[in-house]
Symmetry: C2
Subunit: 343 residues, 2 copies
């Protein structure tokens, strides 16, 4: 399996997801700003992977601070942390990782700065290792929801490449496959960025899990024709009431699943839950550039000067979610209560 | 306005819709098989336009028959008509046009073959002119359903390029715009073929009607956020009970409109109604090649050898349709009764 992100000597490197599956190329980050740029231009994407990247970016940033005294070090570190927070607005795992790293540094005020720097790097490695472990646990909890021989629809890429490794939604699918359930997957291609066609299909084919790609437009029709048994997606942020922010198009899939009486599951680590957000409509939704829609590579497809709306995420109200699969277990409705008890 | 299809000297030529908006190029048909190919590879598409093309193709085909005697002429003509019928399976307008042309030839058994040939060409020109006139009437009937200042979502291209001219869904939108209603349009880009981005946005920009393009994934989210007031699409075939076959993704849009209490209108000429089909699930749905999904131009985007499902149309059950706009008036539910009275 290709690692999504790793330390390599004193740098952080990420697989450049803009180029998969055509080319497998590293994107090397020598400073924290390279990491921010990598997150913004989607060299790396997926809520848990962004969290890992942010942690590694802060460790890189810490190392670049010259001061050997704690107070000026922390002042600069917090500035870097603030910059990191702004990289992308929707996935809460980024904030979660930044807060965890900041807390660690705050709790080491007594130690020499050089020790703090190495502790931050270690913490970022720990976050990566934990993320993979969390995904495996999520897989174990979630695969009980997957019937033998079933066909699973997934949207976007919530796989190995969206996480430290193994995946959230694809982790559950991998676990079901590994347990011999003879499942198959239908992957929404997931416009505009085509994570489903480029990343999900690629990952599943590498693992020998049967997968077919469809235009996002075909998901509803396949549900109506009873060609899909369940849906599993990831999440970028989950509100205290169970509303889910995830890749644009998730809301549509969830509504269509409900109408066609198909379970709709969300697989996400506890760190994706944001208890400070009451409901989904309070989650900031990133609007990305128009060129993701009207350009393909360097070629313009749409009419010159065409106006585009390009929200990168949407909100799925909790009432459309059958269950949330976490590393601690499966949360069932009513989510407000369930989420509280899991935090 | 660019003509979709026309006679040019003794040939038929169509604007090559695969190349819009990048290039405006004619595709010249010297024989009926060129027309069939043009329909199959989607040089021309859209149910009413396919009907016009089929009629012109049959006139071309008739001209190429050498026999001067009626019986052998008709035998060959019927063979050509049968070939034409198979060009694409879903849009019923193709069958409608073939039957109209065949009936005309059948009713002229007494005339010299040369007269029949020229009558067939005239008939095909009449079908084109009628189609434009029908669209204008549809526009007049339909625009009453469009509130002032409203935002209209449309899917695929049901415009000038999908018809002889003016358009079905876009005809209604044009009529509303011409009446000074200050509307705006949101166009689903409509994967895999991107008719919305390439054709609908192009047409509306040419006409100065405000339009924004979105990924198909964003339609539901915009509806939930009350950014869309009504939906208008075209149709490829309408069953006797009001079920609608249309471009893949239409079903999803209709369900999402219903859930969000937004009217969903279908604009289509009476010739799109197929009274021989009881309900939508009896309509044949074309499955197109995988390369429409995994290739872009000549570039492969998906992983090599990826499996694809690519249904070109879907069925929207009548219960999701608020009204059907035809050239004879607006049909309201219950459709079975309404459709019967309009035929």
């Amino acid at each position: 399996m290709i690692p999504t992100i790793e330390w390599h000597n004193n740098h952080v490197r990420m697989i450049d997801q803009r180029k998969i599956p055509g080319r497998i190329e590293w994107f090397t980050c020598r400073g924290y700003r390279d990491v921010i740029r990598g997150i913004q231009v989607m060299v790396i994407r997926g809520a848990p992977a962004i969290g890992v990247a942010a942690a590694m970016g802060l460790a890189l940033g810490a190392r670049s601070i010259r001061s050997k005294l704690y107070t000026p070090f922390m002042k600069k570190f917090e500035k870097i942390a603030h910059e990191m927070l702004l990289a992308r607005p929707t996935a809460v795992n980024l904030r979660w990782a930044v807060e965890r790293m900041t807390r660690l540094a705050e709790n080491m005020a007594e130690l020499p700065v050089i020790k703090i720097k190495s502790a931050l790097r270690q913490e970022s490695e720990k976050i990566l290792a934990e993320d993979i472990e969390i995904n495996r646990r999520m897989g174990k909890h979630g695969q009980g929801l997957v019937p033998k021989g079933s066909t699973i629809l997934t949207h976007c890429n919530a796989g190995s490449l969206a996480t430290g490794g193994y995946g959230t939604a694809l982790g559950v699918i991998r676990a079901a496959h590994e347990s011999g359930k003879k499942i198959q997957v239908i992957a929404d291609e997931t416009r505009p960025w085509l994570q489903g066609l480029r990343l999900t299909a690629f990952e599943l084919m590498e693992d020998g899990i049967p997968v077919s790609v469809i235009a996002d437009n075909a998901a509803g029709s396949l549900m109506r024709r009873k060609r899909i048994d369940l849906v599993i997606t990831g999440a970028d942020r989950i509100a205290a009431n169970g509303d889910v922010a995830n890749k644009i198009g998730t809301y549509q899939v969830a509504v269509l699943a409900k109408i066609n009486r198909i379970p709709f599951y969300v697989a996400a680590p506890i760190s994706t839950i944001d208890p400070t957000i009451k409901n989904g409509d309070m989650i900031p939704v990133e609007e990305r550039g128009p060129e993701e829609i009207y350009r393909f590579g360097k070629r313009e497809i749409g009419p010159s000067g065409v106006r585009v709306l390009n929200p990168a995420f949407d909100i799925t109200p909790a009432k459309y979610v059958s269950a949330i699969i976490t590393e601690k277990g499966v949360i069932r409705p009513p989510f407000k209560k369930g989420i509280k008890s899991y935090l």
